[in-house]
Symmetry: C2
Subunit: 658 residues, 2 copies
Amino acid sequence: MLKKRMRSVPLNFIRIGDSFWKKHIDLVENAIIPYQWEAMNDRIPDAESSHCIENFRIAAGEKEGKFYGAVFQDTDVAKWLEAVGCSLAGHPDEQLEETADEVIDLIGRAQQPDGYINTYFTIQAPEERWSNLTEGHELYTAGHLIEAAVAYYYGTGKRKFVEIMSRFADLICETFGEDKAIHGYPGHPEIELALIRLYEVTGKKQYLETAKYFVDMRGGEPNYFLEERKRADYKKIFPEFEGYLPLYSQSHLPVREQKTAEGHAVRAVYLYCAMADLAYEYQAQGLFNACENLWNNIVKKRMYITGGIGSSGLLERFTTDYDLPNERNYSETCASIGLALFGMRMAQITRDARYVDTVERALYNTMLAGIALDGKSFFYVNPLEVWPDNCLPKTSLEHVKSIRQKWFGVACCPPNIARTLASMGQYIYSVSEEGLCVNLFIENDCELRLGGETYLVRIKSKFPCENRFTIQIAGDAKLPNLWIRVPAYARSFQIIGTDIEGTEESIKASEHRVSYKVDKGYAHIREDVAGKTLTVTFDAPATFVRANPLVRADAGKVCIVRGPLVYTFEEADNGENLEALYIDTRQPLVEEYQENLLQGVVKVKAQGKRMQMQAWSEDALYQEIPVTLEDITMTAIPYPYWNNRGKGEMCVWIKELL
Amino acid sequence: MLKKRMRSVPLNFIRIGDSFWKKHIDLVENAIIPYQWEAMNDRIPDAESSHCIENFRIAAGEKEGKFYGAVFQDTDVAKWLEAVGCSLAGHPDEQLEETADEVIDLIGRAQQPDGYINTYFTIQAPEERWSNLTEGHELYTAGHLIEAAVAYYYGTGKRKFVEIMSRFADLICETFGEDKAIHGYPGHPEIELALIRLYEVTGKKQYLETAKYFVDMRGGEPNYFLEERKRADYKKIFPEFEGYLPLYSQSHLPVREQKTAEGHAVRAVYLYCAMADLAYEYQAQGLFNACENLWNNIVKKRMYITGGIGSSGLLERFTTDYDLPNERNYSETCASIGLALFGMRMAQITRDARYVDTVERALYNTMLAGIALDGKSFFYVNPLEVWPDNCLPKTSLEHVKSIRQKWFGVACCPPNIARTLASMGQYIYSVSEEGLCVNLFIENDCELRLGGETYLVRIKSKFPCENRFTIQIAGDAKLPNLWIRVPAYARSFQIIGTDIEGTEESIKASEHRVSYKVDKGYAHIREDVAGKTLTVTFDAPATFVRANPLVRADAGKVCIVRGPLVYTFEEADNGENLEALYIDTRQPLVEEYQENLLQGVVKVKAQGKRMQMQAWSEDALYQEIPVTLEDITMTAIPYPYWNNRGKGEMCVWIKELL
């Protein structure tokens, strides 16, 4: 753990212009934000009703009516505002900002005299405030509103929303604590990391301390949630959580004693984010060790190769080590976003690039799979294998959707994807007075403030299509240190320095190999790079990856990975019954860029065999006849782009011909 | 469909003395019946409370107290009495009979003045009688009591229990029907087949007609269960069935229109048994066609190779065609028993041995796997693959037990196994005036009544250890026809006739090959076999069987089958992580009888490979390294005997080295 952590560059200092990401990021402004705005105002035909703007109007006393939606319905507004804040940072838009300002004003008017904000409890159950921390989601909702306020402040410079939320945060700090009325903590973590962010923009130490209180109290004896349920006035909200165990909400043990990632995956990673922040803020080694243990448990035992987490469709939870079923997992888009947020914190408080390897995997695969190429439909659940005909209630695969959905009743994933895309800039760099880390190879221009100096950093990149990018850093002073991430998948990583004054023709003449030392996954460059163009190249060919044989679901199978992208096989390219395919891993993989496929992707062809069906009549279920195989060429596409060509089977892991 | 169906030989005319089955059958008298008697009287330490005898005492007004148990708690007593009836048929036991008589007297005293019997509704909810056919299980419970009464009559010749149950059956017939008060049918089928059996021993046509009424009404519009739930006085019993669909109880369509086996597997096969009986009794071709469609759907699309049915652990139900997951299925022991009962009816109304192939598969594998070799513990759920560490609530595999359980709160399977073992005799022969079918090759002496004549039939057999058995038939008259089943797995099936007067030494001298014609899976023998010994031999070596490649769970895998027995691999013989094993199907299988293994079994050895773990540290989840294999010899044991050597992994289907 560093004494002085690194931070991301504020979004309004970064402009992304990347051939891989920009088309997705542009969807936020052009499709997702406008679409969600319509949804929140109940103007999307055939979509589930949202009512969430209406709820605020009713809570503000400006309309008559009843609350409608989930107890956490307000978070839709919060996540939308957070996405808007992130988007405005990179793409100013007066009209959008005006609309958002009006929503913020409305939230202000719905705020209660004591600072409280929550339309469900305000309209429907004012007497039940804070009475059901297990299921009530009040602190969770508050957390998302606070995150939105912070993002809006960073994106627009306007503090009104931060002030509104600070009043609510003050109320929370006055209500929860050792010498306060309530000694509980939230059923769904989120407030903790939000209070820490609010502390960052307000400097109010109390916010940090209340976050620490929530984290420190969690899982202590007697268990708050089990006690809460015994109270006479306790009212259940979600009947399906009848058998709810402390494990589900990571309250089975004090957090410092937790060594395995348990329970609802989104709750888990949001909690771990706050733990990492607090470990740094208080330089608390025990808490940091817990973060490392939990991280390692996830990435070494409980994570899909796509960066997905949550192996169980039921209760969206972690299960056991190496239990990674491909067709019935949850792997919620939000959970992978949370994993990226957790990993980025770990990377920035350790300056260790191995965390970024996982962050990149989660962002390029599961997060991006959550949204269609047109930005109009979304996945909550991200299986690694889909048999559309079997995604039914009677197979207990109702949670797996074989096509992306327009909108959701519980609409967490779409706006979460929006804020993540709009804030991709936060993942590109880590910066502190010691210097600059380049984490992701995304084309951008960045204005960097560091030790009182300003630098202009420019990355030009066609990664991951090509494994080559350039960095130029201009500034009056020498950059103290530069670290460029060496991804775990990179081979023959090299950096060539070129005089930046040179013309295209003279580049070769003045280039030299830049020496570096690999330091925790970064190429650490000591030479002065000012005025130079650094050209980073490495090999990252499509390759076969296998899972630990203890992963029973993948034993005997391989998958194809090319740089950060996991590849998958679709029925559209490979026909029906993908379980009948074998890959011949002795044959080379062939990469082929196809411009008209999925808006331009590198597809990968493999040689293999298909089990033939001729010997099997419809009437035969079990027979003694041998397997016959026919030669085939199989085509894989990047996992994030699956299901953009209609409904069909999909399979990441394919049997290996041995 | 035959105009005159075949029937089983009454149990009291058969004495089984079989090296394979007798040790299991003896457990009924020596272990299961006494154990269950103790359980029903709450005298088993650490077992779940039963209270079911006590419930009858309370209902009879002989004791004060409250009802305890499930709404169908009475069925434990019914199934015990049925097992006792079957057992007494083969093994008279005065003391046991006396105890059973006392229980029957108690049931008689608990009968209400109008004939009604059900301790739950009598004690706890008399006003709710017949008000919840969906979940109340009253007709189901009545059915099991009727089946018990019929079995007790056959086993002892005593009619008192039949008379008691006839009074209740009369009440049911007066209550349900087109011109009667209630136009419903049971949520859990069972009464239908029970009424048909009661008709067989009483000749009262009304019982048959009410069974037909229940079957004909089922699934009509409007759906009775959906209507029932709308009533103001409807009280839910099982909250977990909130989302209950008509499909679950096979009431989604009129039965004649049902083409796929749906819903709760036990309910399904019990219903199909009655449908088959009624199809014959009324010579109803449409109903028979439905039975054939449903049978074919099960055995060609929805059945495990072990004869297990019910692919879903949740709700114990059928799922979709070819959806046969090995580690999370239900495959309830009772469902396979029901499948055997259904198959036997189909075999006897068609004289087609292909039904018996499945009956045999279910009895020799799933039914028998349900009970430990010592008769003291039981499986409800019969997976084809078990990872003990993963059988947890958080993996949604709580229903899969990695060791057999002592007793169950819902104790259907143990007594169901008991009655099945005690009535194995019913499966051996089918008989009608046309002649005799030999279905199963189980050693027994049988007194056969046929067309006014009596024959003594003796089968001597060490099957399936040896694929050879002899039949001797002695009688004054010529047996009209003899059919000996030619199992689907038999090769080189031949029958040698020998003069029965001969001595051991002279047998060879007088033997001749008996000519037969294969007729629907039976070797049809026309020659007079009186006074002869028929020696039937065939080859049925251990062999590799593959599943239709549309069975995704088994694609690329093989299993070993030897005659009726499916084989499986246990950790005890093959080490941990059975998913790392490959079978080399080009190498021969080696059979080896081992007397001291599992009370004497033929084990099967296969050559194969194991994925080596050396290259995988605990820290590596995904790597580019190739698979390395080491040669191994693998040992398989018969599936029914798995888990008799402590907890460990088990796996039926093994990856094939291609």
